[in-house]
Each structure stands twice: as structure tokens, then as C-alpha cells.
């Protein structure tokens, strides 16, 4: 009986919603592992996901106990939240009860032959260059390639030649599905797609990003995967359809009520403290004088720390903007063939920017090329010798001594070794110094259009990106003589998760190249003229520079040609000195959070410690990344200036007064804020269940296929963040798993209009994937909280007694009318 292929395809699409896409580690992307569940209320989503993946949806009792003992959960708030649900026991009693109720762990390893066969062939098919001898026939696609290896595999009895298996994917589906009614197909697909969520997540990512070279060379889709899996299951006698009971996640009512209340109380406690702080912020008098310098940083939570310390150095202003600086581009670093995407996951690149040596630096580039060629020859030599069947034995003997020496040096003197490497590198020209991003499109005659992306930017595009940057930040006047766009990147060797510490807005790459592009654009006279016409008047003496913030050491480097500096050398020196002091202060603050005893009186020791972490191949916690993130503040820096926000807030500059039609806010709330929510949920879920949604401990990681990690001997691909990115030690979390609180300074009617236009965004708040608090300038900057389902609830003023009225979602008597106040 022929089956309707379009129905199969549609059912697979539906079923695939349950699986989160998994990016390769090289371009690690923060994403909500339960993205496909965001159309449901949070508590229901985590329950369904728990049934499918076995993952926990709320922090465990130990995490709550830690927060409780550290005083992070306000006793009054908790008591009130519990009372709303009729619970009156003491918190300590409840903690004990939650611990007693915690399910035990499996003790017997499960062994499903079906999963075992599949992980073996998935790892082989999806390998991106680890095996010297890859799986045969990959170019024919997963199903066809598997069909040729299956006869020798022994997993399926009675298959002696490929023709014993269905010819095509469609026939494979027919053979298995014909005995099931159409209504059962989707549950069957869900059952099989969620069995190995790591690998299927990666297949999902790859099949939907058809432009990757690996997908083009070795195509795989979820349908091909399912065809293999169902055929195998059928022939191996494994279950095709799930048990009726686990078939579709049910909407049960036995919610984990206590964890849900505790989490809410913890979030409210954090929010209350944050808002109290904001109220007490030193009311920043408008800067009378023109600042000496202005620096624009990524909205990343790590920028908050360094910005605070830079501002303390003197007459500096800082701004927050998405770290790809609004330029949706692909970047081709000098001397490489590969192009890396350098914009957020929700944005498609529109330009290709190539680094080209500046004419005056051609000699340096040639010298660099010579050494780079030599280095590549060495790498190739090592690689080929390592894998050669006969030559490897002699090679090991001849090179062993060098490996021993390198091992001793890297382990015993990582800092010294890195200083040595640095001083050697300084003798060589660096592409950062001799290259410039090529912005002008090549002449039409030889216009390169690769992957259909135009090389360079048109004049219109340049003006567009420059204007968008200043409009979104609400920054239309007061330009200092020096303005620095500062991207950020991490520095950490031997770390599969390096990209998770780089700029999330640049698809897990350092943001320096994007900063250079925007700085170059803003220095062009034609762009400035166009901006002037649009009301953004940049003085002629303002110079835009680009820099990069090393988030591991807090060092900020400036991309400036020191032989021909664009600003006065004295000004540049002063800026560099101030950035150095800021680095020392920021490093001193940060090392206290990293398992380290450093003499706090000596900032140099702190800097040294961070530099050691940046160079140490044994370091599993080079820095905390975005751990701790809890709030996303949209508003002018004046709101938060002078406050210590502990590196827990995303800061996006915005001025409601310069954004009358709300376009800028709309862009911020549908772009950077959503990315912030993805980052936050990834940290949240990786923390609350590091096995199901995170990747476990780094100490037993095993990199597979050059693209991801498995634990130990292999199996399913791990996703999310490793334990060491989230926990201070095996027992104490460092990342406090709170859902993001978005705090926006803007009139509520403007926000309501935006939510009305963007249902998926409103849904994130309505379904409590994140919370929204507004500082309403129309109400004298009073704080109001968005109520699930619409409506606003005022934040109690600090002088007023704690409200006793229930504040549960929906039906709250104090909820304000949605009608905007003029």
C-alpha cells in the first residue's frame, strides 16, 4: 500500500519540533533546549520534556538549599509565595521533604542494541575529519550509505546484500508504516526522534542549514535517519510504536509544586533586590563636559564588569549594543579559506567581509605567509605520520622526547610558556595589524559572489548599519574625540567549549572583526554626511576605533596601526593606560569568583592569575562566561551607572525619549532580548539537569567527529554546557538558575504595542519563559510587572509594607487595566 509521502514529511516536521537543534561546538550557539515547547506554559513544557528526555525542569533541592543558606531567597517572599498555595511549613522542613522525594539514580546501565547500532553509524557518517578512513559512500546520503554497510554489520539477521533492504527512504517508510494507521505516525516519529536527542538535534541543525559544506557533501535529513532507525527497529524486533502510556505527553496535574514555588520566590527575591539597587542608583548628573572617550561593548553580562571599571578611570562613557554591531556578515580571516558566520543565530548573514593586507603592509603579509606555510607543513607532517600504518612506530620514537618536553612545559609553567610564545609571536607580523576588512565591493567586472553573498558592503548598507547602531542605542549627540567599538572573545586552550565563551551575537566567534567593520564604516566621510542628514551629527574630530575585550583576562586590545595612529599618540596612550587599570580592577573582582586564593591587595596578581587561566591547558574553568545571568536591562546607562550588578545583567543601551515610534525598542525586544532568553534558558536547563540538557563533566569528555562531545566511551552526543561552566565545584552551583527578568525603561503602551505585533515574543512572557518589568517614564519611572496573559502589576514601593494580597498569575485584583496611561 503506497503511503502519502507528503503526509510522512509533514508528520516528521511536527515531530521534529520536540527536538532542539544542536550546533557543532566550533560555532557553539546558545539556544533554549526546549525551544519547540515555548508555545506552552513553562511548567507544562518542562513536564512534557521530562517525559520525553527524562530531564528535570526545576532546580534540585540542593540548589535551593544553597540559595536559601546563602540568603538569596528572601524569607518573606518565600513565605508569601508558599502561603498563596496554602503551604505553611517552615522552609527547612520543605527542603528536607524535597530531598527525600528526589528520585534515585539508575544503577544498572541500559543497553539498547538499536541505539548502539545507530550511534555507531551516526558518529561514522557525521564525522567531520577525525577518522582517516571515513565511512564509505557518504556522498549518497545517510540511508544509502547505511544500506551498503548493513550487510556486513551483523546487527540485522538475514541481510546479506544491500538489496535485502528497501531501495529508498520512501520504500523504507512504506515497509514499516503500512501496518500502522496514519494517526499513529507522529507519535512513532516523536518516540524515535527523542531517543537520541543529541544526534537527532545535530541532524536537525545540519539538514536545515543546507549551506554547510559537510551537508552538501554528505547529505542527511531527519527522514533519512528515521528510515534507517525504523528499518533497524523493525528487523531487530525493537518496538516501533511507543507504549500507549508514554505515547503523547499528558497534561498531568501532579506538578512539582514545591520547586515551582521556590523558583518563583528566588526570582522575585532577585528582582526585588535589583529594583531596590536601581532606585538607589546615584542619580547620574548629565555629563556637562564632552567625555574623553566612549566605548561600546556587547550586551554580554561580562561587559557590565569591565564597563563599570572603565567608567571609574575617568571621563569615559560606555554603551551596550549587540556584539555583532548590527553588521550581518560572514567573516573570512586572513590566510584561511573558511568563512565563519559572524552574526546571531536568528539573523542571516548578508555580506562577506574578507581580511586583506593593507597595501603599505604587503611585506609583512608576505613574511607572515612564509611562516604560516611552514607551520601548516609541520601540522600536516604530524598528522600524516600519526596515522600512517607503518611509519608511526618510528615517528613515535623520534618525536616522543619533544612531546615529553612540551607536556612538562605546558603543565608546570603555562604562564611562562605563554609569555615565551607571545614574545615570539610579537616578532612575527600579525594579521590583525597588517590587515583591514575589505568593505568596498569589488568592481562589478570581477564581482565575486560566493554562496550568493556579496563581498563587501554597498554605500546604502553602510549608512543603514551605522544609523541603526546609534538609533538603537538612543545615541544621537555628544560624540567624544575617540569612540571605540569593542567586540569580545575568550582565550582558552585545549577547551572544546571555547566558542561558548566567545561572542554569542557573533555565532560563537570573537567580535573584533565586526567592531572593525562598523568603526571603518563610521570613519567614512560619506557615511557621516548621510548620518548628518538624518540628524546624527558626528563632529569631524571624532575618530572611531575598534578593539576587542579578552573576557578571560579583561585585557582590551585596540586595532590601531601604531606607525600611523589615527588619533594623537598621547590620547591613545592615555586610553591604553586607563584600559590597563580597568583590566587590573576587573580581574581583581573576577578572580574572587574563580576557585582561587589571590592576594587582593595586588591587582597584578589577579591579572597574572587570569593570564595563567587563559594559557593553561589543564584549566577547566578559564572564566565564568555568562554564568550568573539573570536580568536584561534595556535603557540608558544612566539607570545603572555606578551600580555593581555583579556581572549578572545584559545591558542594552536605549533611550525611550529618542524613539518615539518604538521601532528601536521593537528591534531590541525581538532581537537581542530573544537571544538573551536563549542564552538564559540554556544556562538554566544545563544547570538544573546537566545530564539531559547539559554536557556533563569536562573531565570525562571525549570529542567526537571534531564537532561535538560524548561522555566516556561514546553514545549519544551531549548538548548544552559542561558542568565546569556552571558549578563552582561538583556540589555547588555558580550559575543561579533563574529565568531571565527583562527590565525595560519605556512607556507601557509602547511595549504593549510591540507585544501585540509579536505573538511569539508575548508568548515568552505569558508562558513564563522569562519575566518582564517595566520602568514606566509615564508613571514617574515606577516599576510595573507584566502579568501572564496581559496587564500590569505595580511593584511595591520600598517604603510600603509588603502586600499581603495574593499575587498569583491571573485574576489578580491589583492588576492594572491594560489601557495605557497617557
Amino acid at each position: 500500500m503506497p503511503i502519502d509521502r507528503s503526509v510522512v514529511r509533514a508528520r516528521i516536521e511536527n515531530a521534529a519540533e520536540y527536538v532542539g537543534s544542536l550546533w557543532p561546538l566550533r560555532t557553539f550557539n546558545a539556544t533554549n533546549p526546549l525551544l519547540g515547547f515555548e508555545d506552552q506554559p513553562f511548567h507544562r513544557a518542562v513536564q512534557k520534556a521530562g517525559q520525553l528526555f527524562g530531564g528535570r525542569g526545576y532546580p534540585g533541592p540542593q540548589v535551593f538549599r544553597q540559595a536559601w543558606e546563602d540568603g538569596e531567597i528572601d524569607a518573606d517572599v518565600l513565605t508569601r509565595c508558599l502561603a498563596e498555595h496554602g503551604i505553611t511549613e517552615r522552609p527547612e522542613v520543605l527542603l528536607d521533604r524535597m530531598e527525600a522525594d528526589a528520585p534515585g539514580h539508575d544503577t544498572v546501565p541500559t543497553d539498547h542494541p538499536l541505539d548502539r547500532v545507530l550511534t555507531k553509524w551516526l558518529a561514522a557518517f557525521l564525522d567531520q575529519g577525525q577518522a582517516a578512513w571515513p565511512m564509505p559512500n557518504r556522498e549518497d546520503g545517510f540511508y544509502a550509505a547505511w544500506r551498503t554497510v548493513a550487510p556486513y554489520d551483523g546487527a540485522i539477521p538475514g541481510v546479506d546484500r544491500p538489496s535485502d533492504l528497501p531501495d529508498t527512504v520512501a520504500e523504507a517508510f512504506e515497509a514499516v508504516l503500512e501496518s500502522y494507521p496514519e494517526a499513529r505516525w507522529e507519535p512513532i516519529f516523536v518516540h524515535h526522534l527523542t531517543a537520541l536527542p543529541g544526534w537527532t538535534g545535530f541532524v536537525k541543525w545540519r539538514s536545515r542549514r543546507a549551506d554547510t559544506a559537510w551537508q552538501a557533501a554528505h547529505p542527511i535529513t531527519l527522514a533519512e535517519y528515521l528510515a534507517v532507525r525504523l528499518t533497524l527497529a523493525d528487523r531487530m524486533g525493537a518496538a516501533i510504536a511507543p507504549d500507549r502510556t508514554e505515547e503523547l505527553p499528558t497534561n498531568g496535574t501532579d506538578q512539582p509544586v514545591l520547586p515551582r514555588i521556590w523558583l518563583r520566590a528566588w526570582e522575585e527575591s532577585y528582582r526585588t533586590r535589583l529594583l531596590d539597587d536601581l532606585r538607589q542608583a546615584p542619580s547620574a548628573a548629565p555629563d556637562a563636559d564632552r567625555p574623553a572617550g566612549q566605548l561600546v561593548f556587547c550586551i554580554d553580562t561580562r561587559s557590565e564588569v569591565i564597563r563599570r571599571h572603565i567608567e571609574q578611570q575617568g571621563a569615559y562613557q560606555t554603551h551596550g549594543y549587540a556584539g555583532f554591531f548590527g553588521v550581518p556578515m560572514e567573516h573570512q580571516p586572513y590566510g584561511t579559506e573558511e568563512c565563519v558566520k559572524s552574526c546571531p543565530p536568528i539573523v542571516d548573514p548578508k555580506h562577506r567581509v574578507v581580511e586583506r593586507p593593507a597595501e603599505q603592509h604587503q611585506a609583512q603579509a608576505d613574511r607572515y605567509d612564509w611562516w604560516a606555510q611552514l607551520g601548516r607543513a609541520g601540522t600536516t607532517l604530524l598528522k600524516t605520520l600519526k596515522k600512517n600504518v607503518a611509519a608511526v612506530f618510528g615517528f613515535v620514537e623520534e618525536s616522543g622526547g619533544a612531546f615529553g618536553a612540551a607536556m612538562a612545559a605546558r603543565t608546570l609553567a603555562p604562564s611562562g610558556l605563554s609569555r615565551l610564545a607571545q614574545s615570539l609571536e610579537e616578532r612575527l607580523p600579525s594579521p590583525d595589524a597588517f590587515c583591514e576588512p575589505a568593505l568596498d565591493p569589488p568592481p562589478a567586472a570581477d564581482a565575486e559572489v560566493e554562496n550568493s553573498l556579496p563581498v563587501g558592503l554597498s554605500d546604502e548598507a553602510k549608512v543603514l548599519y551605522a544609523e541603526a547602531a546609534f538609533r538603537l542605542m538612543g545615541w544621537t549627540d555628544t560624540f567624544a574625540p575617540i569612540v571605540v567599538f569593542t567586540g569580545h572573545g575568550s582565550e582558552t586552550p585545549n577547551n572544546p567549549y571555547k566558542a561558548s565563551l566567545d561572542c554569542g551575537a557573533c555565532a560563537g566567534n570573537p567580535g573584533g572583526p565586526n567592531a572593525r567593520v562598523l568603526a571603518t564604516i563610521c570613519n567614512e566621510n560619506a557615511v557621516r554626511d548621510a548620518l548628518r542628514e538624518r540628524g546624527i551629527d558626528i563632529p569631524d574630530d571624532t575618530v572611531f576605533l575598534a578593539g576587542q575585550h579578552n573576557t578571560t583576562t579583561d585585557e582590551i586590545i585596540l586595532f590601531v596601526d601604531d606607525d600611523d595612529p589615527p588619533v594623537a599618540p598621547e590620547a591613545l596612550d592615555r586610553l591604553r593606560r586607563d584600559l590597563q587599570s580597568a583590566q587590573a580592577d576587573a580581574a581583581t573582582e573576577r578572580v574572587r569568583t574563580l576557585n582561587t586564593a589571590v592576594d587582593e591587595g595586588r591587582p597584578a596578581a589577579a591579572v597574572h592569575e587570569t593570564e595563567r587561566r587563559a594559557a593553561d591547558w589543564a584549566e577547566t574553568r578559564p572564566e565564568w562566561g555568562l554564568a550568573g545571568n539573570a536580568a536584561f536591562i534595556v535603557g540608558p546607562r544612566a539607570l545603572t551607572r555606578g551600580l555593581d550588578l555583579d556581572g549578572r545583567c545584559f545591558l542594552h543601551s536605549y533611550d525611550w525619549a529618542t524613539d518615539e515610534d518604538g521601532t528601536a525598542l521593537e528591534n531590541i525586544m525581538t532581537g537581542p532580548l530573544v537571544v538573551g532568553e536563549w542564552i538564559n534558558t540554556q544556562y538554566y536547563f544545563s544547570t538544573v539537569d546537566n545530564a539531559a540538557y547539559g554536557s556533563g563533566s569536562k573531565v570525562t569528555h571525549n570529542v567526537v567527529g571534531k564537532l561535538g562531545v560524548v561522555q566516556g566511551n561514546g553514545g549519544d552526543l551531549m548538548s548544552g554546557l559542561p558542568l565546569q561552566s556552571l558549578k563552582a565545584d561538583d556540589e555547588h552551583v555558580y550559575h543561579r538558575p533563574l529565568r531571565l527578568t527583562a527590565l525595560v525603561q519605556a512607556p507601557t503602551d509602547r511595549i504593549e504595542a510591540i507585544l501585540d505585533r509579536h505573538a511569539p515574543l508575548a508568548q515568552l512572557f505569558d508562558h513564563e519563559w522569562m519575566h518582564l518589568t517595566v520602568m514606566d517614564p509615564a508613571r514617574d519611572d515606577a516599576f510595573v510587572h507584566y502579568q501572564s496573559g496581559g496587564g500590569w502589576h505595580p511593584h511595591p514601593s520600598p517604603d510600603a509594607p509588603t502586600p499581603t494580597a495574593p499575587v498569583s498569575a491571573g485574576g489578580d485584583p491589583e492588576a492594572m487595566d491594560r489601557t495605557p496611561t497617557p
Partner: protein, 478 residues
């Protein structure tokens, strides 16, 4: 932020480096144990070299783990076992009493299996630990049987006593003991068909893997070296060792070709290298085997500790390397010959008389040949650079290796039957032909024609199925 800190890891790390310093000291002056001490321990060249090697790698692993394992639960237990294992290995290499030797051997396996399952709450790690422990227990029984046979036959309680009496023992005792010793060595060094415990051991924290692959799997080689007079007594045993080693060397390296994860790839490579090391024993070159296990130890420990660096952006397909051309071909041939001659001269091998040492030289020649070919084909470099690179890379590396090799020979003057080259046999010829053929086949890509071979290699190097984490929910980091 760490809420608990302990001084034990630091103490054990310092003690290990202290032991390293002591081992270094014994190279200059070694204790002459009189009387009762000599019955228990005898510090000869082999013991000193292995002590130096073991404490060095262990010191690195201790120091590395201070950062790598920071914050881990049961850190004191981890360090206690790591340090205990180091002591056990020191005792093992210096033990003279048969019971002490067997006891140390069994204890080594027990503690190592424990470290493979260091993550207690993780069922897959426990399964891997159990699996390794079964192997080690079996190996210990084989060893105990061999020692019992030897001790009973020679009526001696010490290794030195047994070895002195080998010539007087009946052939069946020597053959039986040698066979049992070989089997015990094969289990410990994860040679085919006992390789699977090693390929299932990646549940161990990375530093443990580094120590295991650089130190503990070597014990098989140390066992053969220690009992060289027994295993060298019968040519048929020598041939068996060559065969066993050769099979693992070839198969391990073939397995490595098809592995897709970095740690199992390194594991397959260890099987191959241990095979080669045992092969060197079978050729009668104990110093060469010990030099190999030391240099391989450095190499493999480094690669394990650096295994986090394997995430890379890569592109599918590889450009075909251009041919070497006439000049390149001449350079390659000349370099390979020159490398072989240099190695032979530096290590004092005869260039004209063919014996089992020739086999060793051929492997050096193959490495030089391949390195030179790779460099010469590198068209992105200018020809003078390419030609200049060949000697500037090969000379120092060959000299370094020859130096280690010679050093072993000098240190092993007091080790019985350290070097006993044998005459070339047809087996040696077959071995050379097989490896030469494998080299050509892989270079030409002939192996890729067989899907059957690919699947067979992929399947025979699978870990124990219960040690695979297919259900992520079962993972537990503690």
C-alpha cells in the same frame, strides 16, 4: 568560590615530584640493598629507568589534575589512588621477591580498575571498571601461575634466583611459564585479543587515561623485560611474541584509521604501539622496547591531556597530494637510506650483518621515508625550503631517539638478557612484507575499496556495550 579545599592533593603532588627527584638520584647512585632487602627489592637499571619514567608521568598527571580536577567530588580518593598506583608501580619494577611482584601486579590492576570507575554514580563507568577488573584479575592469575611454575621449578622465591636457574629448568616448565607470562603481558598491554578493556576505559577522567596509556599498559613490556631470560630461552616463544606484537601493531593502527572520537582513536593507537613494543621484545631488543614504551608514553600522555583541542573547523574532501617528482623521489630515497644508516651507526648496529636488529632499522627507515615524502610533496613551500627542512627535522629527532636508545643500553648492563638479537627468520621477512604492503596499500588508498573491511574494523574495536552512554539520562557526574 570553592567551599572545600584539602591539602592532600598538594601533598601527593609534592611527594610524587619528590619521588621523581629520588629516581633521578638513583641514576647517579643506586642503593645497594644487602641481605633481606635484596630478597624483596633489587634496584637495577630497568627499575631505575621505569621509576624515572613513572614518577615523571605521574608528576605531570598529579600537577595537571590540580587544575583539571578542581572542584571534583572525592578528590582525595582520586589523589590517593593516583599516588598509590605510582608507589605500586615503583615496587613492581624493583620487586625481587616473587610474591611481592605478584602482589604488586594484582594491586596495580585493582587500583587502576577503580580509577576507570572513578565516577561512582555513573553506571557506564562502573561497568567499564568491572570489565577492566575482570581482565586484570585474569591477568594476575596467569602471572601467579607462571611465577608458581618458575618458583616451584627453580625452588627459589626471588626473581633473581629463578632467572639464574632458567638453564636448569625442564623445557616444559620454561615453555609453560613463558606462555603464561606472555598471556599476562598481553592482557596488561591490551594486545589483541585482550584489547577491549582498554577501548572501554574512556570513562576514566582524562588524566587517568594519560597515566594509564603512558604508564600502566607498559607493565606488559616490563614483565617481558624482567623475565627476559625465561622468554628468550626458546625460539618458538620469541616467534610467538613477534607474531602477537605484529598482529596488534597492524590491527591497532588499522583500527585507529576508522575511529571517529579522539580518545578511542588514541586507545587504538596504544594497542598498536604496545604491539610494536612487544614485537621489539620478541626481536630480542629489550632496551629498544623500553625506549619505545618511554617515548610512546610521553607522546600518548601529551595527546590525551591535549584531547580537548580536537574541535576543529574542517572542510570535506582532501586535495590529492601531487607526486614527488624525480628530484623529490631522489631526496626521499636518499633521506630514508641516510636515516637508516644514521640510526644504525648511532645505535651500534651492523650495517652488513642482517639480524633481527635490521627489522628495527627498517621501521625507522619507513618513518623517515614517509616524513620526507610528506615534506617534499608540500608544493606550497619553495623547493629549497623543503629540501632544507628534511635534514633539519630528521637529524635532531633521530639523534634524540638514538640517544635514548643508547642510554637504555648503558643502563641495562645489569639486566639479564637485555639485548639478544636473533637471526632473521622467515617470520621476520613476512612481518616486513606485511608492513611494507600495508604502507603501500594505505598510501594508494587500496583499503578503501573494501566496505567489508571497514565495517569489520569498526565493529571489532567497539567498547563493551554496557559502557556506552546512549541514554543521556543515565549520566551522573559524581
Amino acid at each position: 568560590m570553592s567551599r572545600s579545599s584539602s591539602w592532600l592533593p598538594l601533598l601527593f603532588t609534592r611527594l610524587t615530584w619528590g619521588l621523581f627527584a629520588l629516581s633521578l638520584g638513583t641514576l647517579v647512585w643506586s642503593p645497594n640493598l644487602e641481605g633481606a632487602g635484596d630478597v624483596l627489592l633489587r634496584v637495577d637499571g630497568l627499575a631505575r629507568v621505569m621509576a624515572l619514567m613513572t614518577t615523571f608521568v605521574s608528576g605531570i598527571v598529579h600537577s595537571f589534575s590540580r587544575r583539571y580536577m578542581a572542584g571534583a567530588k572525592r578528590l582525595n580518593a582520586f589523589y590517593g589512588r593516583l599516588f598509590g598506583l605510582t608507589l605500586i608501580v615503583l615496587v613492581l619494577t624493583a620487586a625481587n621477591h616473587l610474591v611481592l611482584f605478584a602482589g604488586a601486579w594484582a594491586a596495580m590492576g585493582w587500583v587502576l580498575a577503580d580509577l576507570i570507575g572513578h565516577v561512582r554514580g555513573w553506571p557506564q563507568a562502573r561497568a567499564a571498571s568491572r570489565y577492566a577488573r575482570q581482565h586484570f584479575l585474569g591477568g594476575s592469575v596467569l602471572l601467579a601461575a607462571a611465577l608458581g611454575l618458575l618458583g616451584g621449578g627453580a625452588e627459589a622465591w626471588t626473581i633473581s634466583g629463578v632467572l639464574a636457574a632458567v638453564g636448569t629448568l625442564p623445557t616444559f616448565v620454561v615453555a609453560g611459564a613463558a606462555g603464561l607470562l606472555l598471556l599476562a603481558a598481553m592482557v596488561q598491554s591490551a594486545l589483541v585479543p585482550f584489547h577491549r578493556w582498554l577501548l572501554s576505559s574512556m570513562t576514566a577522567p582524562t588524566p587517568v587515561s594519560a597515566f594509564m596509556h603512558a604508564g600502566l599498559v607498559n607493565a606488559g613490556g616490563v614483565l617481558l623485560a624482567r623475565f627476559a631470560p625465561v622468554v628468550f630461552e626458546l625460539p618458538v616463544v620469541m616467534s610467538a611474541i613477534v607474531l602477537v606484537g605484529g598482529v596488534s601493531a597492524l590491527l591497532g593502527q588499522a583500527w585507529m584509521l576508522v575511529q571517529t572520537d579522539v580518545k578511542r582513536q588514541l586507545g587504538a593507537s596504544t594497542v598498536a604501539q604496545m604491539g610494536f613494543m612487544v614485537l621489539q621484545c620478541g626481536l630480542g631488543f629489550i632496551p629498544a622496547a623500553i625506549a619505545h614504551l618511554i617515548l610512546h608514553g610521553f607522546y600518548k600522555a601529551y595527546l590525551f591531556l591535549a584531547s580537548g583541542s580536537a574541535v576543529k573547523h574542517t572542510a570535506p574532501g582532501r586535495p590529492e597530494a601531487p607526486g614527488t617528482g624525480v628530484v623529490g623521489g631522489l631526496v626521499t630515497a636518499a633521506a630514508a637510506m641516510g636515516g637508516g644508516v644514521l640510526f644504525a651507526v648511532l645505535t651500534g648496529k651492523s650495517l652488513t650483518a642482517l639480524n633481527s636488529g635490521t627489522v628495527l632499522t627498517v621501521f625507522v627507515v619507513l618513518a623517515v621515508l614517509h616524513a620526507t615524502r610528506t615534506l617534499v610533496r608540500r608544493s606550497s613551500l619553495s623547493r629549497p625550503v623543503r629540501i632544507a627542512l628534511v635534514p633539519s627535522i630528521l637529524l635532531p629527532t633521530l639523534a634524540l631517539y638514538a640517544g635514548v636508545y643508547k642510554g637504555m643500553g648503558m643502563l641495562f648492563v645489569d639486566v639479564p638478557s637485555a639485548a639478544a638479537p636473533t637471526a632473521l627468520t622467515p617470520l621476520h621477512a613476512v612481518l616486513l612484507v606485511v608492513f611494507g604492503g600495508a604502507y603501500v596499500a594505505v598510501e594508494r588508498g587500496w583499503h578503501r575499496a573494501s566496505t567489508r573491511l571497514y565495517v569489520a574494523l569498526r565493529n571489532t574495536a567497539q567498547p563493551l556495550s554496557t559502557t556506552l552512554l546512549n541514554n543521556r539520562d543515565q549520566y551522573n557526574a559524581h
